[in-house]
Subunit: 274 residues, 2 copies
């Protein structure tokens, strides 16, 4: 089986393996791309993480994650921007295709979502010069609207692309099926993203019925209601040919042996996604 | 306090009171509008429910709910349409401002959300002649995208209004803050709804952080992150001046005495919504 189109987001096996172990397992299965999280990189150190990536000839489809721009005061927002600059540096060291931005929700005690969205725009604008200079594209990830309050107040692909239009070069989108599958404008907006060459990453994860936990009950492809192939075809037609990265935050799958999870990802990718 | 702008959706006190008891309590507090659910009407009988409404001079801001159009086969879809016709008759008997439609999600085993949406459109189209003849406006309620799979595949106000445009006269929208507060196009689409006189109902309910259950952890106004007044101002500017109906599905509030819930609804409506 040709696995060049598959990337493993290491959050999928975060409870089983550290980055080194996860890479060994991925390479053992012929997987050539990964997407690590910053805490996973930090745990083994950026130098070691970079060495592992290089020595194994891995493609890093994205680094997860920057973002979380809103804060109650200017000093807090500046701290977030500074941290995002470090994230850009890490993404550059790893030669990641993009730094994914989970932009953040409402500041503590706030009911002003328009204000939070302005903070996000301003935060990305402040980060962009460093990202451009570092040649690290920023991938805004629209998150499911159920996370609007506490994780990300960018909640549709259309909104993310509007933000890209406002911000200019060096910024694009990460499209995660879990977050966008429900959107009646999904295919229209994927096509729009293609016109501006804005698609920087494609994540796959299924929506379970019922969903028992709002954060940690995401589904393995094929176990839920998402029809993956038409979305992939649209993304390819829009000019993105990079790997699909499996990102599943799931207490169910985190309890399974890592090898079983990895084999299942490969099988389901083949059966439902490519 | 003037309570003409307040309606109580009886689901808010469904575990404490039947419709008769709920009406007595509402009337005792000077509330002049209610929104019952069909099962609450059925429990005491339509004749008795109609009598209670009339004798107390109550406005029925909406009857909850019709909808649930998608089904795996044509016979199943016809059964749903037939049941919706009965719901129209009940709404007519109660002289309700509108019949709310929670349109339904994916049929069992389906991954075809576009197909489900077509079934919804076709189902409402089949229902419309009877609704028009009965002078019962149909209020499509866009539900939060987290319900797209299992409750309603109409998930934004824009999508609901597109459907209204397609279907013509006799159909409009119910705007529930809980379902739409996150939408970056909310104010634009409320204004659009006003142009077509499409707003038929306005529900209020808060979004809690964290939300512990996807269906039954909705919030009392003021306990969450929604800024109600700007939404109300926009709805009024769009030409809808009917009452705001408190609809809170909450295992927390269902455990409280009905009188306490009702008093809290009144106080919070006054403090956060009018």
């Amino acid at each position: 089986m040709d696995l060049e189109g598959l990337s493993i987001n290491l959050a999928t096996v975060r409870e089983q393996w550290d980055m080194r172990q996860a890479v060994d397992a991925c390479v053992g299965h012929g997987i050539t791309a990964i997407a690590p999280w910053r805490d996973q990189v930090e745990k083994i150190g950026l130098t070691e993480a970079t060495r592992i990536v290089r020595d194994n000839g891995l493609r890093v489809t994205d680094l997860c994650r920057g973002g979380m721009f809103p804060a109650p005061d200017a000093a807090g927002r500046q701290r977030q921007i500074d941290d995002n600059k470090r994230a850009v540096d890490e993404a550059a060291a790893l030669a990641a295709d993009a730094l994914v931005l989970v932009v953040g929700g409402l500041p503590e005690g706030s009911r002003d979502i328009a204000g939070a969205r302005a903070m996000v725009r301003d935060g990305i604008a402040a980060l962009l010069p460093h990202a451009r200079a570092s040649k690290v594209p920023l991938a805004i990830e629209p998150l499911h609207p159920m996370y609007a309050a506490d994780r990300a107040c960018v909640n549709t692909l259309e909104q993310a692309l509007d933000l890209c239009d406002e911000l200019g070069e060096g910024v694009g989108v990460a499209i995660d099926t879990y977050h966008v599958w429900w959107d009646p404008k999904l295919f229209e907006q994927i096509a729009r993203a293609g016109q501006g060459r804005r698609i920087l990453a494609h994540h796959i994860c299924d929506w379970l019925v019922p969903t028992r936990h709002m954060l940690l009950d995401r589904g393995m492809m094929g176990d839920g209601v998402i029809d993956f192939r038409p979305i992939r075809r649209a993304i390819e037609a829009a000019g993105y040919s990079g790997p699909q990265a499996v990102e599943i935050l799931s207490e169910t799958w985190w309890k399974q042996p890592g090898e079983h999870v990895l084999k299942t990802c490969i099988a389901r990718y083949n059966d439902f996604c490519r």
